[in-house]
Symmetry: C2
Subunit: 450 residues, 2 copies
Amino acid sequence: MISTMELTAHMEEVENLLENKDYHRLKESLTSHPAETAELINQLAPEHRTLIFRLLSKDTAVEVFEHVDGAVQSEILSGFLDEKVLGIVDEMSPDDRARLIDELPASVVMMLRKRMTPEEWHSTAVLLGYNDNTAGRIMTPEFVDLRDHMTVRDALKRIRRIGDDSETIYYLYVIDETRHLLGAISLRKVVLSEMDTMIRDIMDTDLIKVSTDDDQEDVARVTQDYDFLAVPVVDKENRLVGIVTVDDIIDVIEEEATEDILKGSGVEVAEKGYFESSVMNNFTKRIGWMMLLLVLNTLTGSIILSQKLLLEGMVVLSAFIPILIGSGGNAGAQSSTVVIRGLAIGEIDVESAMRIILREFVLGISIGLLLGLAATLWAFWLQGDWTVSFVVGLSFILVITIATTIGTFLPFLVKRMGFDPALIATPLITTTIDVTALLIYFMIAGYLLG
Amino acid sequence: MISTMELTAHMEEVENLLENKDYHRLKESLTSHPAETAELINQLAPEHRTLIFRLLSKDTAVEVFEHVDGAVQSEILSGFLDEKVLGIVDEMSPDDRARLIDELPASVVMMLRKRMTPEEWHSTAVLLGYNDNTAGRIMTPEFVDLRDHMTVRDALKRIRRIGDDSETIYYLYVIDETRHLLGAISLRKVVLSEMDTMIRDIMDTDLIKVSTDDDQEDVARVTQDYDFLAVPVVDKENRLVGIVTVDDIIDVIEEEATEDILKGSGVEVAEKGYFESSVMNNFTKRIGWMMLLLVLNTLTGSIILSQKLLLEGMVVLSAFIPILIGSGGNAGAQSSTVVIRGLAIGEIDVESAMRIILREFVLGISIGLLLGLAATLWAFWLQGDWTVSFVVGLSFILVITIATTIGTFLPFLVKRMGFDPALIATPLITTTIDVTALLIYFMIAGYLLG
């Protein structure tokens, strides 16, 4: 049995650490026997109970929860909606959160689920321990669970009883006494089966499921590939904690497309969506890329200045710079966009990179030849010198071919390095091509005219 | 009664017109009494029957179908899968098709539905009279229909009987004897109701439905807004002909996002998807934009050449052209992307144009001031003349402010004119800004240095 003196000492330590917001040492100090920790929580001021409970490891949390008084259990659960507790966890860095806050036991998840509205559930996600853009964050706890020893008749009875509060009753999930996911079955199959059929005989055991920390994009991909209306979400111990329904998947798909589109033009995506953010907020979302591109672009100035002598002798050369870098940029952007989107929706993969680079190379040469011819004729019409026109035309062919190749190659490279190819914004491609184009142009001009 | 001579004369006329592929005059010639037309079709060679039948107006078609022999009815239906007939209709221009081919009577649609596999149904869409990217094209004929005088028990019995062949049984549609859509009801509601409840008492009559010729994007929007799993599709007479299910909606959303993304970089979208097309096919999808942009871009050459004197005196000015037009283009692309995507997903509308243009204007000035300052300092470091640096900095401020404003304004303008803002490809924005930027730059340079 724990002595009152020890308990008082521990209480004081805990209260001190809470005051100093030293949650890492606080977590370390909570290693006594679950019964002792339960006693500590019993004695603690109500507003601290939930936070302390969340700092426990999952295994300890299960036992501690069983040991605390019934009233305290209820207070711990209510504390999940406490703005102050939520605020503390919200302010932590994602790294801190991952280290401090363990997965919540499925039994507690289920109890919380019954106390909360869907809105409350979603606003509590951070304290439940689910990260942004994960299955845990978008899942709903409102589903119908069945047991494998039920008949179709039992199942229908249960659906009639609790179905009203469920997000969907079109997929039903079969679990054991400790909430492990055993199988799933569609309402369709239930309705189309005889009343006395056992659920265990018709349920699907080879089922697709996702984890709470799976990326929402992967959940969307699974749903789409299998034409699902809902996907079950399990915790690390394969206990069912929620489902993701197809209407939320649709929102994810649209949200991710928007994110890719904005990123593609060098706009960082605000967490709460672009259109609700303040002007200042949007300023910070755009200035980063603009500054980076400005710095990269200073190379173009240096390259041109290094050709001062050549340009002073033949100022007409500068007239073709914008059209050359513009066309190169457009060609590169076309290729990179096609590849980035293809990778995003899974139409192409890194394995086929060589084939696609080759294909775009052929495309680039074809477009380059045609545009080069047009540019040569136009350059001659504009300034009447065949050599200069030839420099322009040759540069067009080379620049456009190289631009499509760079535009195709870079997204594959980024993907191979393990990043999201959508990071390769079009402006980055065009700026890279600006620099490359100038180098090619002045090399050819220097050789033929210098 | 029709005389044999008249019939023979009409037959000859029809066969002549068929041979000459003069389908417009053929359609005009089919105006006799339905009984006579039925007699004509009875006499016609089997391979011509379906085509002639499809050239009839909807009202006539209903009556003619009832008048022809049973065997001929069956042949007309089989003819919908005839490659030759499909080929003829496929080759028509969309305009011709709209003029020649009327909506199919719902009764015939239902008979066809029962004879065809889903794949056959989809491959026949053009002959059924449904245009690309419409609800008619993506709908499935496999649904469960109920009558309003059924009880929940009857409904469940019917679902058990025909549910196996349905795409979804989660929404059930209530129709009258002539297939008019009266209401809809979810399987959820059926399962949660008492067995003796009348369907008419629990069905939803204030229901959301779409027409066969509604754009698939609008169907997706409706499904998304109401969190539907399926939407009923009716013909012009409110007769139920199919449903669109949520798994197809997901594909539509992804397809449309891909289309917008590719268009945004000036890549036309191939009907069968980018990645299945040949290199030649992709060449034609890209060269159009590239050529258009090249022509627009020739303006930059003319502007620079018109400043030959200024540039000969101060060649260093040309060093800042790429960075200035590049930064302007990036700023404009950021704004246009944000607005185009916002319009596409309905987060903003044309009514809020003024507010958003103002907001982007403020953003543009802010970014312009910061980048202008950076550019001034860099320009001085590069070439040591404060006046030139000042010209560069001032141009930056003006160009970036104007670029964000153009980038914001153009998509709204295009939308107001009734077109898809996604047509405003980023390269078009950047090219427009290239030209504008050069005009501003040389105006300021001419004023301060000329």
